[in-house]
């Protein structure tokens, strides 16, 4: 069934790692001038499929055709030579040199033995114009937003490597709405030029906004490839999860049931709490049995506020009272002892300790509270680890698995487990659902609501308004390092968006 339209045709791809079958008999095709979304939960096999296509991993079986010719992708470098380019979420360009240099790196035009800057800038300019972007290409890359940096990466992929296939791996995770639209315009333009684009994302909205076809993977197997227009959104989610959606719907009902509010118990009171350069003084109250949602754009001071309450930084103004006691010394250890926990925003850099086992990661904070010499015995450690693996549904063959081998959602659960093991009164979650799949997302939301019901005070920070609104009792909005408003949980999203944008 050789389709002349196909630029990439992968058939019967199989790949297994010790103990895991990552891909099993997966077929995938990408047409010329198509935007093809690759969907699936974490661990579904998306990244492995991409790794096979880009030569990072060699498939155990199956064939790959490029433009109708059988190919064997030996290495990532080789895949670029073949015309398959990947732009990752974390941009791998040099931010301290100019845009033009970044685009032309390795292809600089020479004149009399030295770089012909004029010509280089001209070429780079022409290249980036192809995406209809007009920026000063002599500026260092770091002067531009992440979105523009991504465009530069794409330009480089197209121009220098003359890509036929472009793989965009979670390109929109760190972009705001405007930037995302900019990226989509570029994608549509490239599509019209006949380039095949594989688009990996967790945002369902975006898939429907831009994708022509959708391929769904689950547990390493192909669920199917569908025309985006003829696949209802609910059905897509159901296919990704492999179950029906009553569970998802049930979630919003739980909240409406527990309408009757108990007497508010102040656990944390912040007065004029602030720190120069990161957060202007805020007043904030955290109550037991309550979820406080924090809405705000990236860089609005959300993370800084969480960091101040948890003691990552010391405030230089205001006061913080936790359970009736004024806090004088700020450090994570002090907060831990007071019963405050923080699941940080950057899971990899601030959360997990990749080369330690799940067991060790889970008991770490508890052990920190016990100190150096009161070492939890191995059976006790195992007991705690097993308990939380079961409670949170962490998918792993054994507690002795290294955390770095887990999927994003499971890593997040391990960090949650680490803090739940210390039995905190206040739980601050900074973007706990970023970059994890729909299933795990729902589970984490459900868990947070459960914890609040059990009497904990939860702070839920997220870029996804829908999520914040769904589970919060109150919503605080931050903008430009300032708390600008606080609403009851039944506020509508329009009001929130306007507040975040500063139009209210």
């Amino acid at each position: 069934m050789a389709d002349a339209q196909n630029v990439v045709l992968m058939q019967g791809i199989g790949k297994s790692f010790p103990g895991v079958i990552a891909l099993e008999d997966v077929n995938f095709s990408l047409r010329k001038g198509e935007i093809h979304a690759l969907m699936g939960e974490n661990g579904a096999g998306k990244s492995t499929l991409i790794k096979v296509l880009t030569g990072v991993e060699q498939p155990d079986r199956g064939t790959i055709e490029l433009d109708g010719k059988l190919i064997q992708v030996r290495s990532p470098q080789h895949s670029q030579e073949l015309g398959i380019s990947t732009v990752y979420q974390e941009i791998n360009l040099c931010t301290n040199i100019s845009v033009a240099e970044n685009i032309m790196l390795g292809r600089e035009p020479y004149r009399f033995g030295s770089i012909d800057w004029q010509k280089m800038n001209e070429l780079a300019h022409r290249a980036i114009n192809r995406l209809s972007i007009d920026i000063d290409i002599t500026q260092p890359l770091e002067n531009y937003s992440v979105a523009i940096q991504q465009m530069v990466a794409i330009t480089r992929a197209l121009e220098v490597l003359s890509a036929k296939v472009l793989i965009l791996d979670e390109p929109t995770s760190s972009l705001d709405i405007h930037e995302t639209n900019l990226l989509f315009e570029v994608m549509r333009k490239l599509k019209n030029e006949g380039i095949g684009i594989i688009f990996i994302t967790h945002f369902l909205d975006q898939v429907y906004q831009i994708a022509d076809r959708i391929t769904v993977l689950r547990n390493g197997k192909l669920v199917g490839t569908f025309e985006a227009a003829s696949l209802p959104r609910l059905e897509l989610v159901a296919k990704m999860l492999g179950r029906n959606l009553t569970e998802l719907n049930a979630l919003s009902k739980v909240k409406s049931q527990e309408e009757e509010k108990k007497v508010k118990e102040h656990l944390v009171e912040a007065k004029d709490l602030g720190r120069k350069g990161s957060l202007e003084p805020v007043d904030l109250e955290l109550n037991a049995n309550e979820i406080l949602g924090i809405a705000g754009l990236l860089g609005s001071g959300r993370t800084e506020m969480a960091g101040l309450i948890f003691g990552i930084d010391s405030p230089d103004s205001g006061s913080l009272i936790v359970c009736g006691e004024k806090v004088n010394r700020f450090s994570p250890l002090e907060s831990l002892k007071r019963g405050i926990a923080l699941c940080p925003e950057d899971r990899k850099a601030e959360g997990i300790i990749g080369d330690l086992t799940i067991r060790e990661n889970i008991i770490l904070a508890l052990q920190a509270r016990y100190g150096w010499f009161k070492f939890l015995s191995k059976p006790k450690q195992n007991e705690i680890a097993e308990k939380y693996i079961k409670l949170l549904g962490i998918v792993t063959p054994s507690p002795e698995q290294l955390v770095k081998n887990l999927s994003g959602g499971n890593q997040q659960k391990v960090i949650l487990a680490r803090w739940l093991a210390t039995d905190p009164k206040v739980l601050i979650l900074d973007e706990p659902t970023r970059g994890i799949d729909v299933g795990a997302k729902t589970e984490i939301q459900k868990l947070v609501m459960q914890l609040a019901e059990e009497g904990k005070s939860c702070v839920f920070i997220s870029s996804e308004l829908e999520e914040v609104l769904r589970i919060s009792d109150r919503v605080a909005v931050l903008r430009d390092h300032k708390k600008v408003a606080e609403y009851a949980g039944d506020v509508d999203d329009q009001t929130l968006i306007h507040t975040m944008a500063g139009e209210l």
Partner: protein, 363 residues
């Protein structure tokens, strides 16, 4: 299946490579020099009957390096490095020498002093001062790294250079010969026919093992070495963890200095413990602890130190001149680095995988 996992565990064990290296060197010795393993019993006028032979020498002479390797393992596991241990050895040695005879540094050595063989300072005090000096050095390094947040290599470089100067200040610029028999016991004495230094290493190792593995410190050290930021976010005071590692490393250097100066009957600010930091780093790397920090095995590092000394003794007993030793050592380093490279590892993995699947089909 069970066999397979055992094989895997052996292959992944940090002890594998240093042991393999050691056995290879020993086999080489057995072939080239039949008398290499000969052990004898000698009656010593001072220390009584004891064992002698190359193997005893390896452990006796290698003791200071083993001690330093134990301390260095912890520092490297936190993601740091301590370049100053050689200088710490010199300071500790100088401290001991100067306390045994405070006058020696200032006077020309006369027959009167030479024959005196006595000191006004109690031996306990001398040992304690040795240990305190080294531990303080370690503490200083730890403060620079954890509190002042200076990069470990730069921070310890300060004491690496300054330490030798301090040692010379202590001894007033002289090479001090020690004339005090009880002090020689640490480097030359025997208990039950085995060198005292072996017992000291065992004791320090045991102490370290209990301190590190029977408390949460080992876990915290590994955690800091893998991801210091996450560790901090988990409520662990990573600064204190680092401080402890450097201080302990200084303590180990101090004991090494004690044994070394006792063994050679002198303290020389310029040459005591010269290049020990590099040998210790090599021993730790051979023991499979990554230079970037994380998982560690102190025992594997000790074996690494044994390998280095076995190699050294082998080279000497082959009659290679002392000034060619460094070149020979470079050869060892090269082989070690090649064995530990990703390439070799991948090659071995592939080899055993293939064997595993063949085995599977044969069943």
């Amino acid at each position: 299946m069970k066999q397979n996992s055992l094989l895997k565990r052996v292959r992944e064990s940090r002890l594998l490579w240093p042991l393999v290296a050691w056995v290879i060197i020993l086999i080489f010795d057995a072939i080239v020099e039949p008398g290499f393993f000969r052990l004898g019993i000698i009656a010593d006028p001072v220390y009584g009957k004891h064992l002698y032979g190359n193997l005893v020498d390896i452990f006796n002479n290698g003791a200071p390096l083993m001690l330093v390797a134990i301390g260095m393992t912890l520092v490297i596991a936190t993601g740091g490095v301590d370049l100053s241990v050689g200088a710490v050895i010199a300071i500790s040695a100088a401290m001991g020498a100067v306390l045994i005879n405070p006058a020696l540094g200032n006077q020309l050595i006369t027959n009167d002093i030479l024959t005196k063989n006595a000191t006004n300072t109690p031996l306990v005090l001398i040992v304690l001062a040795d240990l305190a000096a080294g531990t303080l050095c370690g503490l200083w390094n730890g403060i620079l790294v954890s509190r002042a947040r200076i990069q470990p290599m730069v921070a310890t470089l300060i004491l690496m250079v300054a330490g030798r100067g301090i040692a010379q200040l202590i001894t007033n610029g002289q090479i001090m010969t020690i004339y005090y028999t009880p002090y020689f016991w640490f480097g030359n004495g025997y208990i039950l026919g085995l060198p005292v230094s072996i017992y000291i290493v065992a004791l320090v190792f045991l102490l370290a093992w209990v301190l590190i593995r029977k408390t949460a410190i080992g876990l915290f050290i590994e955690s800091v070495g893998i991801n210091a930021k996450s560790t901090f976010y988990s409520g662990i005071n990573e600064q204190n963890v680092k401080l402890l590692a450097y201080t302990f490393c200084g303590f180990c250097g101090a004991i090494a200095g004690l044994i070394l100066s006792s063994y050679v009957h002198s303290a020389d600010g310029n040459n005591n413990g010269l290049n020990y930091e590099l040998d210790a780093i090599l021993a730790v790397v051979m023991g499979g602890t990554l230079m970037t920090g994380g998982r560690f095995s102190m025992f594997a590092s000790v074996i690494g130190a044994v390998v280095i000394w076995t190699f050294t003794v082998t080279v000497y007993s082959l009659g290679v001149p002392a000034n060619a030793l460094l070149a020979a050592k470079a050869f060892l380093v090269m082989i070690v680095i090649m064995l530990y490279s990703d390439y070799t590892r991948r090659f071995l993995n592939r080899l055993s995988e293939r064997r595993g699947t063949q085995h599977g089909t044969a069943d």
